[in-house]
């Protein structure tokens, strides 16, 4: 076993990026994710990489677009208001089928909101985010270890499907420290980047673009993007289940609040309540099939989020009308992180 390190979630994501072979980072400071650019500004130059503190989030995502068009692994990170600014570039990258990793250590909103942990960016993240019909893969770590592992995974998904991939965390996951085992990069067979610009070098002209003006061209392009999403849905869904086998109440939660819910579920089990936890790890593609099975087995779901109800819509769609789905939300703000005891109360209330 590798040595256990003790690092912040944000640092773990930056370390995962480096392990994944990312040598190009473009970002702009914003709380609570600035540990990521701070770490990479220190480490990338040692690896002959490039770190640019861009003039804006808009510029940063477009630098990522440019680097990615060259076929290298590149990343940006930000927090909610900054991610809004990046949506233009994310849409262009999705349109041009460019890989790239975007880390969102989300904060509370709308507007300037605050810096507290929040899951209010769920819709924006999983439904495309920018203009035009597209989806990007979205991964939701719930620990420092997963910040590292899933950031590496994000680069593989990005290259495999030629798509931007978002790692969606919050200040709990980003700011807390835990033990990290810096596992080596996973091995995955990836397609060669034969589309990347390099200067013709005696070969065919390569064009990276999202403008399609020919008759029927854009429609076909949209269906191709959709087919990639369906393929991800088939092959790349990730989720975790805890005590779901005999559960008659299923709690659904992701990211930081899933950690709190995990303890609440364990406390409920100690009281003899048959409660389980279903945690989507990929928010897009959403693990519909696995959730459907677990949800129908339990017959009743309590969805818990740090917002006024977003993922709960996908939960309802996944399990269908036969399963009763309730929601408990703590919209973000100072002092609004629920405790395990508070969630246990909700579990008791919804337990039939």
């Amino acid at each position: 076993m590798s040595k256990r390190l003790f690092v912040k979630g944000n640092e773990a994501a930056a370390m995962g990026a480096i392990e994944a072979g990312c040598r190009y980072y473009f970002g702009y400071p914003i709380t609570p994710q600035s540990d990521i650019p701070e770490y990479l500004s220190r480490e990338l130059p040692k690896l002959d990489g490039e770190f640019i503190q861009a003039e804006s989030e808009v510029a940063a995502i477009n630098m990522l677009l440019g680097a990615s068009a060259c076929g290298v692994r590149a990343m940006t990170s930000s927090s909610s208001p900054g991610i809004s600014l990046k949506q233009e570039g994310i849409s262009y990258m999705a349109g041009a089928e460019l890989p790239g990793v975007i880390i969102n250590i989300s904060r509370s909103g709308p507007g300037l909101g605050g810096i507290d942990a929040s899951q209010s960016d769920y819709f924006q993240s999983v439904k495309g985010g920018g203009h035009g019909g597209y989806r990007i893969a979205v991964l939701a770590p719930n620990s420092v270890q997963e910040m590292y592992d899933l950031t590496m995974h994000a680069f593989d998904l990005a290259d495999q499907y030629r798509t931007p991939v978002m790692v969606l965390g919050d200040s709990v996951i980003g700011q807390m420290k835990e033990a990290l085992v810096p596992n080596p990069r996973p091995v995955r067979e990836l397609p060669a980047k034969e589309w990347a610009v390099r200067g013709k070098s005696g070969g065919e002209q390569r064009i990276v673009k999202s403008l399609f003006l020919g008759d029927g061209e854009l429609e076909a392009h949209n269906w191709r993007l959709h087919a990639k999403y369906r393929q991800m849905m088939e092959k790349e869904c990730l989720s975790e289940e805890f005590e779901t086998a005999d559960a008659t109440l299923l709690v659904t939660a992701y990211g930081s609040v899933a950690r709190i819910a995990h303890t609440a579920v364990a406390m409920a089990r100690e009281e003899g309540l048959k409660v389980g936890l279903f945690r989507p790890i990929t928010l897009c593609p959403f693990p519909e099939e696995a959730l459907k099975a677990a949800g129908q087995r339990a017959g009743r779901i309590l969805d818990i989020e740090l917002n006024t109800g977003q993922m709960v819509e996908d939960v309802r769609l996944a399990v269908g009308s036969g399963v009763e789905v309730s929601f408990y939300g703590r919209p973000p703000g100072a002092g609004s992180l629920p405790s395990p005891e508070e969630l246990l109360d909700q579990i008791r209330k919804h337990y039939a």
Binding site: I52, A54, N62, M63, G66, A69, A74, G89, I207
Partner: protein, 249 residues
């Protein structure tokens, strides 16, 4: 028989689809000749912008990345940092570069990115139908300045070549026009000089090219060409505003 005029290697053998009298074709040719001259076609990555300029990849036989509106200098930054051995230029219009992309051009220039920016200034938004641009002359009527550009309300036209010359990272900044054979020849020299800086890794180079948009100006090509000399050049003086090979040292 001696051949005196050929198509540059860096251009494709295609028919132009630009409007009659449009000078994009002229500027394309000057850029392509410069690429040929430096022998860099095979390692050039062009960055197209939004507007009529987007069709770069249809005419140039080089690798091209298309940037969102105004963001070409940021995209080019990413390209050049990832592929420092490549030859990178952006090709942008005035709305793209001097309005929506002001932050990106200023900061790419100020960082001294080793790229070349070709800025085609025709004082209007061409592709969207002739709206007022940041470079529209005072009094000039456009589809969104039907009473003429009002300096008090719309500000004065922005002189990008002069603005950028002030920045520490800029090695070369110049303005040329393509309205006469003499000016075209001068433009060719200036564009070559700009690329020279990149070839030698000496920092950011910028060439503003005054050109016409007969369609949106509502003028015949010849009259449009005359307007460049009579109205644009007096306000946007031609010349080299910075030529500093040691800017990066």
């Amino acid at each position: 028989m001696q051949q005196v005029f050929t198509r540059p290697e860096s251009l494709k053998d295609v028919q132009t689809h630009f409007c009659p009298g449009c000078q994009h074709g002229t500027v394309h040719r000057l850029v392509a000749e410069a690429l040929d001259q430096f022998g860099v076609q095979q390692k050039t990555i062009g960055v197209a912008s939004v507007g009529c300029s987007v069709f770069l990849y249809g005419y140039f036989d080089i690798d091209v990345v298309e940037a969102p509106h105004g963001r070409a200098p940021a995209v080019a930054t990413g390209v050049k940092r990832a592929r420092p051995d490549s030859f990178v230029f952006t090709y942008q219009g005035d709305g793209d570069l001097a309005a929506i992309g002001t932050a990106e051009i200023i900061h790419a220039a100020n960082r001294g990115e080793d790229i070349t920016v070709i800025f085609v200034n025709n004082t209007t938004y061409g592709m969207t139908g002739g709206q007022m641009a940041p470079t529209t002359l005072v009094g000039q009527k456009t589809s969104t300045s039907p009473y003429g550009r009002n300096k008090a309300k719309d500000g004065a036209p922005i002189k990008m070549a002069e603005v950028l010359a002030q920045l520490g990272g800029v090695a070369y900044s110049a303005r040329v026009a393509v309205n006469s054979p003499k000016n075209v020849l001068q433009a060719k020299k200036v564009i070559k000089r700009a690329f020279q800086f990149q070839a030698e890794g000496k920092g950011f180079s910028f060439v503003e090219v005054l050109s016409s948009c007969p369609t949106n100006w509502g003028m015949a090509p010849l009259a449009a060409n005359e307007r460049i000399g009579e109205e644009m050049i007096p306000y946007f003086p031609l010349g080299v505003f910075k030529d500093d090979p040691i800017a990066q040292d």
